[in-house]
Amino acid sequence: MRDVVVVGAGPAGLAAARAAASAGALVTLLDAADGLGGQYWRHLPAERPAGREGLLHHKWATFGELSDVLREHPAVTVLPSAQVWSLERHDGGIRLNILVGEPDGAGRQALVLEPDALVLATGAHDRTLPFPGWQLPGVYSAGAAQALAKGERVAVGRRVVVAGAGPFLLPVASSLLQTGATVVGVHEAGRIGSLARGWLNRPWELAGAAGKAGELAGYVGDLLRHRVRWRPGEAVVAAHGDGQVDAVTVARLDERWAPVAGTERRVEADAVCVSHGFTPRLELAIAAGCDLSSSRFVLVDDTQATSVRGVWAAGEITGIGGADAALAEGTVAGTAAAGGNAGTGTARAALRARSRARGFAARIEAAHGIRPGWTGWLRDDTVVCRCEETTYGRVREVVELTGSHEARSVKLTSRAGLGPCQARMCGRTLQELLDGPGARGRAAGGVEGGPAPTVDRRPFVVPVRLGELAALPATSTSRTATSRTASALPTASFPSASQPGGDRT
């Protein structure tokens, strides 16, 4: 029997775990959060359930069915609060180093898994482009606002502006409305022209992705009911306030996303939620050695196999396609990882669903992809890296003084990207600023199949306390998780320690 580990319990990971178990594998499903569902199906914890959770969630029934199957399946071990902090490659395969328990708690348990097959379904976090004032309290990433709404039933403000680009703005606005906030407006950077080209030039794809269209239609209905204005070709170009957002400046954008002078207007608001797309969580894929595409997603073949033997990928790390694509890809990946035939049964149907969803993903990029003109709303004093408070002016100055356009050098001389978020927020922005507008290929950070750019490399996937590192066993021991199916866990062991020793670099 094959041991399959699935990392990430959002739509892709849940579907992969079920498919792998159906195909006869022993499955361990890991997620860093304390429950299943990922960001897409984030919900109140089990100890305080909501009666009408489904209202906040698309495809809530699908989630319920998936999680029920996985919880009951004898060959599946579900391991929540499991943080994969690093991944090792050795000649025999892959080793996952995991800490299980609350990240802030004292007693996280170390666990090592060496599966026959690994499915990465680590998802994406939303990307926010910097603008003047975005470091003020009251400015949220749209993902954070949605997480608060879905996971805590908390609205981030009373009068909220939603801005950025992409269909994700709609469910975010919808979640805010359901938690009682007034959504002052939804400002979409894409202009009608590109939206029309993205959405209308292949209408049969929209028909094919009927589920997706239906989902979006539902959100649009929410906005209409609440008389929320959805305004294409506009952006929040500044946030204002003394210690807290009290207003934003909205401006019209041209085709390149450059703000059009004279169109600025001030909008009173106590919160603003911004998302300009998504950044895939690539840490584990990079550590595993997976090839990336030029636009920096994990390259996969028809069975969702990556370039590394024994490693499959599904969901947003292979391209931003939404939950339908993730479910389909997960099913294909899980089947293939278990050694099953992805060309038959449910996987075959999933393959068809996947190609429809991929068409949808391409249209999202065409309609909502970031355009280089956005740097037009930056000022010299605009903070680019919020952790280190490095400004756009300082980045430009350092580049000019040192003559270096290389991300690593500029990070170390300007301090941008060195803070606690480890450039997850600003890394890609910094790289695009360094590569300059128009350098689309390089701005994307690499070449097809080439090595991962440094801004995405993070061997420490999550922070680990030195005490936890020091407590890792130095000798080879077999470890298993405590669970009802502990005997079904993949072989676990820890490598023998290297010879101690060190010198000073």
Partner: protein, 391 residues
Amino acid sequence: MAADVVIVGAGIVGAACARALARAGARVTVLDRGAAAAGTSAHGEGNLLVSDKGPGPELELATVSLRRWAALAEELADELGPRFPSVEHEAKGGLVVVTSTEGLSGLRRFADAQRASGVEAVEMGAEQARELEPDLAPGVVGAVHYPHDAQVQPVAATEALLASARRAGAEVRTGVEVTGPLLGAGGRLAGVVTSRGEVAADAVVVAAGPWSAEVAERLGSSIPVRPRRGMVLVTTPMPQRIRRKVYDGDYFAATQSAGAELQTSAVIESTQGGTVLIGSSREQVGFDERFRAAVPAEMARRAVAVFPFLAQTNVMRSYVGFRPYMPDHLPVIGPDPVRAGLWFATGHEGAGVGLAPATGDLLAAQLLGLDPALDPRPYAVDRPTLLETQS
């Protein structure tokens, strides 16, 4: 004498050579197949140390170089202005601590020998050491304080040296890979062939760190430099509680010979950004960058043994680099005995940042026929200790 010099490698050593040569009147072109300050120089801590060096040529080079750095930091700041990223030169001093009496006697013997060579090394009891570093572990039984150990930010330092070299007329070309030699009369090296065309030169200096062996081979010679991997851990920022560079000297408990070079197994220090750096592992695994959890685990055990409070501190990033390792633990600074026109400035292992200024001066003096401040023979490519290892 005016000369056209090509330097291969835009790391700290290449940058120091470029500045010294350009200021002495040479027309310098620095080539790097990657970016400036992106290899070994960007993956270390920026240590300027005498504490880890026993009596001998490396200590002599370090003594000159550390004095040079103190002046150089000011020269660079004056020349490049206040907006240029600071090289963050900090003469914070170093403290080697030990937790066993055997370790202490070994450390004391080593410090005695260093003092005989002019190093300021102050022996301390445990209480005195705790006055310098109040958070030291209760098990620390003694220490030696080295007031002259210092620190720079290595990437800023490399960029500053390159910027200064450019002001003296040097040209820095990145993304240009050396692919072969340009040969002149009698097989003399007359420049290099690159991925972007030919570059003629009277002399070619290989300062490509751990990649120097590959470059030497492309130019028709050889140098026995090998990569030695090291990892540095970086914690999340916090209020500073570690004031100096603090080294775990327990290596001495396992060392018999007093003459052995000090090999500390943990270097712990705070940075101006508020993070704590923990170095540094040492493995000979070629250019293999793959992560191994056992390495940070061992580093963490050693760091926590010196500063127990660190157990609660989060590591937020690590980086792995490759040091240019020489079999006889000395850098090479001088002409290639086989291929006329070829020069080397490489093999500094983990000490390149500290040794760069003296290396640049020594190389420039030899290449331009000036009086070197140090006897160059111990660093020669054909020195006996290096020939032995090759035979």
